[in-house]
Symmetry: C2
Subunit: 367 residues, 2 copies
Amino acid sequence: MGKLDYQQAGVDYSKIDPLKILAQRAAAATAGNLARHGFRELAASRGESAYVIDCGDFHLASITECLGTKALVADATRSLTGRTYYDQIAQDTLAMAVNDLITVGATPISVHAYWAAGGSGWFHDQQRATDLVAGWQRACDACGVSWGGGETPALAGVVVDDRIDLAASCLGIVRPKSRLTLGEHLAGGDTIVLLASSGIHANGVSLARKLAERLPQGYGTKLPSGALFGEALLVPTMLYSPVTEALAAAGVVPHYCANITGHGWRKIMRHPAAFTYRIHTLPEVPEVLRFLVQQTGSDDREAYGNLNMGAGFALFVAAADAERTLAVAEAQGVRAWVAGRVEPGGKQVIIEPLGLTFGGDDLHVRA
Amino acid sequence: MGKLDYQQAGVDYSKIDPLKILAQRAAAATAGNLARHGFRELAASRGESAYVIDCGDFHLASITECLGTKALVADATRSLTGRTYYDQIAQDTLAMAVNDLITVGATPISVHAYWAAGGSGWFHDQQRATDLVAGWQRACDACGVSWGGGETPALAGVVVDDRIDLAASCLGIVRPKSRLTLGEHLAGGDTIVLLASSGIHANGVSLARKLAERLPQGYGTKLPSGALFGEALLVPTMLYSPVTEALAAAGVVPHYCANITGHGWRKIMRHPAAFTYRIHTLPEVPEVLRFLVQQTGSDDREAYGNLNMGAGFALFVAAADAERTLAVAEAQGVRAWVAGRVEPGGKQVIIEPLGLTFGGDDLHVRA
């Protein structure tokens, strides 16, 4: 089978980025509007995964994030097994927002759901709708957030018929303010702790869909373990806020956090400063990602540069906090690895076990 | 030309509502999660247009809203005139969120943009992308909000090719808390002040699109004034937050507010209690709405029950504040009318000049 890459799979970051940069600059220019409300933004949060406003006694953090195309996998797999998987899809969507929000040190407090369907008929499928609602509620409870409301438009002509565009916006507080993790304390000698992913999460799904089209059995293809490819893809994204909340309760304040999503392990060097991130230990790669990498003929650079490869979230902590961080994560049922360390030096991620290096030029997330 | 109605135009509220009610109940069940953060929700805000959390010194309000299908009108009209109109579409999108947020008495402080395109190519059209960004920034400045960030996914297979799903989430504060307008002070004798709309806003657009399909000249049809139908539809939604902020500065706290969107003037009876809303004065109807009503053969019940018919926002104020409310609105460049009064009695909207009554059964916005 021929090689598949991201450009073929329909995600062309080079086309998105110019608008993104234009928008980032225009957005930054509006910051002064906060002054009339007696607030101010933390400018360092621009370009980070959540926006932070100083409200005096505490900071507010906010974010809007979208699921992407993972619901298409659920739709296709449902036709094989009869399950809707929208309970899991709901968790994925919430995780997109929550896992970004917590990177700045915020406790998520409330969310809004955005469910835009291709037509009113979407909401008429009772099993699917019930699963979506139940999964969303469960994920809110798991994260300790209040589900404040949402929007359920029917957008024929904008959203594809019988499809749904799912997104979530999340509000959080940073309190005490010392929990803020915008990265000013990141330093050489810090330890990189990686938290286990549960599978593909919601990143690399376009590639997986392209692969499913080419497999004779599609989503029904059996992985070595016997799991169906479609069902393995649909294992929901981990919710990491129980770990970050437990860390705060244990008195551990990370120096920085990165949610490993688009751009895969290149996100490890998300922090704006020039540091070298030297990885000595790799987490176990979930079977579905091993299968995806093997079947698409991806090399290590493509795999680790685009997929989570077993690490869904990176915590950068003082070396003295590393073991405690592991223990706190494991107590929350999340596997964790002391995977590497931060060093002074040029901006790069060096993955020693693979002899692989990503340079600073490989990641552009800021204007 | 035959009659066109909402069901034909693809918006079937009877199909959306059961899921909405299921979701509202599940969402309400998550409210207890706020306790662990030392916050509590204002339960009365559920079913209102924005969600409100008591944070001690002030309330926080939040909302996520979507534009709907109005961008399709921009796309079609662009092919006639060469303008993209996405600067105006940006204002429409922001207005959907801001005009809802302010109904609870909140000052909007920050927004996130959600722009989900049918593919990376959408962002490659430089004029359209530049207009979208510029219009968004301008609308943020007009409302005094900081544009905190956003999401610009490319969702081939979910969003229709070369289309875009636009939404906004908005965060606001209610401070002092006495600015809260969840409606506990609404009373018989209050005055209903209506604020002028600029045109169709973003409500009734499916019907307008259906009409355009049936007109021989489509969006190029000339209205009596000479304006093109498409361009008249694209006049952007009014941003009402300058009025509500100026009212607060003038010491006028409305007893309740309603954003007149879906369900048109039926939204005037949005408040949960049973009151009779007697309208004695009608605002001027924008030309594009007169044209739409006439061409679709809608009667007054359909027109006022679904469209804004010249009134984009309703303020319910103490009778003693009515004249001052008018003056404040007009000083912000927004026409306003003392249009009616609140009376004890059954839940209904009586539009006297039209001999038209909407009963409480005509509006279902709560579980």
